[in-house]
Amino acid sequence: MVDRTQVVDGWSGYWRIAGMWIRASMTYRVSFWLLTASAFVIGALDFIGIWILFHTIDSMGGFTLREVGFLYGATGLGLAFADMFVGRIERLGQMIRMGDLDTMMVRPVPLLAQVCSNEFALRRLSRILLCVLVLAWASAYVEWSPLRVLVAVGMVVGGAAIYCSIFIVLACIQFWTADGVEFANAFTYGGNTITQYPLAIFPGEVLKALTFVVPLAFVNWYPALFILGRDDPFSMPEWFSFLTLLIGALMLWITTLVWRFGVRHYRSTGS
């Protein structure tokens, strides 16, 4: 299905281009650190917002602030990874308009790797750091067991894979129309916002949609129920908690199909 040499080429090509962008961003050191610090603060204020809500109430859908912190950190980490590694793909439409995509097609590095590593921003590490901190703070109160650690690892890796897939699949819309960028935001950042909260506060339909249509509930909700040792308020099957990694892999496979379909249907602007 996926050619092995292509994966290797893509990986090494990705990092060569990303490295170039990292060196470039380091030229403007003040700007780099200012942007990195402010991205950290944006994220922190986001969580402080939730903290303020908990100033008014003691629990949300039966979840304490620490448990919400666990959900927040887990989904935020998945999004932050995806945003750093493939997030730039949301500018696909612009690359098409400016003719950059045509240039990329004749270069000896797989197209997807080039599109994703374009304008690689190391400063996004700050968002990852913030989510790691929140997750670590929340994790300190979890009763860890070997199986729970395993589920947690699967949650982070699989969650990142699911977010990466959503970024790429929705960006493919831009092969047909470049105006749909904001539409994708509703799923990526919107998906992140909704999974920051315990899904128990939303109607059951929302949970079903996030399980069977856009599988964002697997990014943190199902594994967190197991790790935190909580009963599922919606009584979904318990083994859903172990599926994150599998669903991440499945989504990546679907993503390669969609991407290829998109590239095959791509017509240059010709200018």
Binding site: L34, L45, I52, T56, F183, T193, Y197
Partner: protein, 265 residues
């Protein structure tokens, strides 16, 4: 008349991208719906949190979604054009023009704001009203006061974005200050958490900062939380910040103008 012409052109420029507008409205609605469920959980446990009832809280969400693009909380609008022109040097042409630079860019931003209010503002508000039980402003004067508050909100937001753009004269790259502004915008306007829920001193601080004029004050006028003299003090608050920040813009522009060197050739 000239300013009207600039504003109309800006309005038309944004209205070219119909699909982008629709996608944006969709995204606003998704975020609005998420917030509504979160607020329902909060206000079910504390039915009088922040002096709001549940209907107030849900209405606040949709006023917030409607104001988000109108006051360009995530940046953008004509100050971005100015920043780009400062980097490229085209700004000297702006200085040549027989029109004030600030007025020119303000007219363009008002055109953009009008377009966003009618589409990204009205669209989500209507969807919100269909899905949830919302409150409307108290009588015709409530509507008038709200609209005045919206204009003041745009003026304050424009002046803040303009100040950031003008820093390009010194920094060449304004992305640092711009990100700082977006941070302040998303937190101190009360977009995610209404300022009325902020605890103690933080609330006092937030209520005194210019960002309060961008959402909290217009929303309180809409909700009828401010009545009589409080409406006037709210509008006065916005007007004072708008005026003060505009004067700051003018002062910085004057300083910058002296720095600009036109290379002959």
């Amino acid at each position: 008349m000239l300013y009207v012409a600039i504003a109309t052109r800006a309005f038309r420029r944004y209205s070219t991208y119909t699909l982008a507008t629709l996608a944006g409205i969709f995204t606003n609605c998704i975020f609005g719906i998420i917030s509504c469920f979160v607020f329902m959980e909060v206000w079910q446990q504390r039915p009088d949190a922040g002096g709001y009832d549940l209907t107030d809280a849900l209405t606040y969400v949709w006023v917030g979604q409607a104001m988000l693009m109108t006051v360009a909380m995530f940046g953008g609008g004509s100050p971005d054009d100015l920043a780009a022109r400062i980097r490229s040097g085209d700004v000297v042409i702006d200085f040549y023009r027989p029109v004030g630079l600030l007025g020119w860019y303000l007219a363009a931003d008002l055109g953009r704001a009008t377009y966003h209010l009618l589409t990204r503002g009205l669209g989500p508000a209507l969807v919100g009203a269909l899905l949830f039980d919302l409150r409307s402003p108290p009588g015709p004067w409530g509507w008038v006061a709200f609209l005045v508050a919206v204009v003041l909100a745009v003026l304050v937001s424009f002046a803040l974005r303009m100040l950031v753009a003008i820093t390009s004269f010194w920094l060449f790259d304004e992305s640092g200050p711009r990100t700082v502004l977006v941070v302040m915008n998303s937190f101190f306007t009360g977009l995610t958490v209404p300022l009325v829920l902020f605890p103690g001193a933080l609330r006092e601080l937030a209520m005194a900062l210019p960002w309060a004029a961008m959402l909290q004050v217009p929303a309180d006028i809409w909700l009828g939380q401010r009545t009589g003299a409080e409406v006037w003090s709210g509008l006065g608050f916005g007007a004072a910040w708008a005026l003060g920040l505009m004067i700051a813009c003018l002062t910085m522009l004057r300083l910058a103008e002296r720095r600009v060197v036109v290379q002959g050739g």
